[in-house]
Symmetry: C2
DNA sequence: AATTCGATTTTTGTATACAAGAATATTGAC
DNA sequence: GTCAATATTCTTGTATACAAAAATCGAATT
């Protein structure tokens, strides 16, 4: 599958929005960005539309494209939905998961633990992501898995921050063990609740993180 | 909010895909459609991209745009997700719903029943939709409500068919009553289960409908 | 000095032009 | 007659050109 210029530009812009180069509310000027990327306005507009559909940019007719970072309220809402979606994945996966996938989950957990011991947050993050992605897939519903991945990806930059809170990685690890346990036992509701809690707590951590950042700024 | 030509074209094309004018796998020729709509290729390509994002069209680079009706498997998956999403909405709504919204739900049910008595499936459908939409909103999570609406909309053409099955409207009505009851009592899990079942059964009905259609065609 | 109306300038939305890759047809060999 | 290689045609992706709407700036009036 070949990639169009618009795809590459969309990715690049997404990155810039995530890393804060383009702050919330910033206007994305078509001509300026076009020459910055060395392309014409046509593929750039395509990229903007793609971003608009994934919610990162608001496209106001005859006005332009504006960066739309989700506010605290919307973020909390998204974390809540993420928690519920993961819970659903877990409930279905508990009934459908393969032995091989259980092995993979176990493996991911072992590597997570090793990363914690080695104080290696990057590896931790990668293996953590693998853990969750396996559960999405093992829901046996590829549409659900795809939706879950999409939301996961969208929350990525916000989830990452709260991993820095002290003790969070260790606690998260314990939660993973509980989730794996429930899945091994085919305990649907248990798996669902464990996953819901696991993700919901991330939302709450994020919330308190936001609060401290805000009060620090005042 | 003004509307661009691309918006209008996207809507029109969506309609044509839903009603079967453009069957599954059909190639959507840019130049032909452009002159058909009396516009240039530029806004038409925008419309195609929008449809691609909502999953109705597959955009293959350097190849073109092809209609992608969901197959039976994907449809079942989508119904399963819809059932789970509605269940989540119900669980949250049971904790958060307002008295006024409960009144509205009751009103929608009364009108649904009246429509059944009057053998008026169109009104039934409208009020049924209102019933569900209220629950989405009363989840108190506008992000969730929006996702639910989007999926609801996407499944619309498939849900409509199975309402014709005899006795379905009446049974659906009884399920609505149970859902309303659970919400009134603030019974989260009950509401969730009732809604999950209510929607899941639609998927199953649809499945059997598909099966009969398929065997009839052989 | 502030405000409002108007002209100018930007900037978006759309059309057209062009370039490159894919599909198709044609010709030649076996 | 079939297959393969090449030429031709089509179609997409991108650039540029143009039109219309919005923003900006300025002058005139109060």
């Amino acid at each position: 599958m070949e990639r169009r210029r618009a795809d590459i530009i969309a990715e690049e812009l997404e990155e810039r929005i995530f890393d804060g180069t383009f702050p919330d509310g910033a206007r994305l000027d078509e001509v300026r960005l076009a020459e910055k990327f060395g392309v014409s306005r046509t593929p750039l507009r395509e990229a903007l539309q793609r971003l608009a559909r994934s919610g990162l940019v608001e496209l106001i007719p005859r006005r332009g494209a504006f960066v739309r970072q989700p506010g605290p309220v919307e973020l909390m809402e998204m974390f809540e939905v993420m928690a519920e979606v993961e819970a659903v994945c877990g409930r279905l996966a508990a009934m459908r998961i393969s032995d091989e996938a259980l092995k993979d989950l176990h493996d991911a957990n072992v590597k997570c633990q090793a990363a914690i011991n080695a104080l290696d947050p990057d590896t931790y993050y990668i293996e953590n992501e693998r853990f969750h992605r396996i559960i999405y897939q093992q829901s046996g519903n590829s549409f659900l898995a795809s939706e879950a991945s999409s939301l996961h990806r969208r929350l990525k930059p916000f989830r990452r921050q709260q991993l820095r809170l002290r003790g969070r990685m260790k606690q998260s690890m314990a939660e993973h063990e509980a989730i794996l346990n429930a899945l091994e036992n085919g305990a649907s509701e248990e798996a669902a609740n464990a996953l819901r809690g696991h993700v919901a707590i991330q939302g709450e951590k994020f919330h308190s993180l936001m609060a401290t950042l805000k009060s620090a700024a005042e």
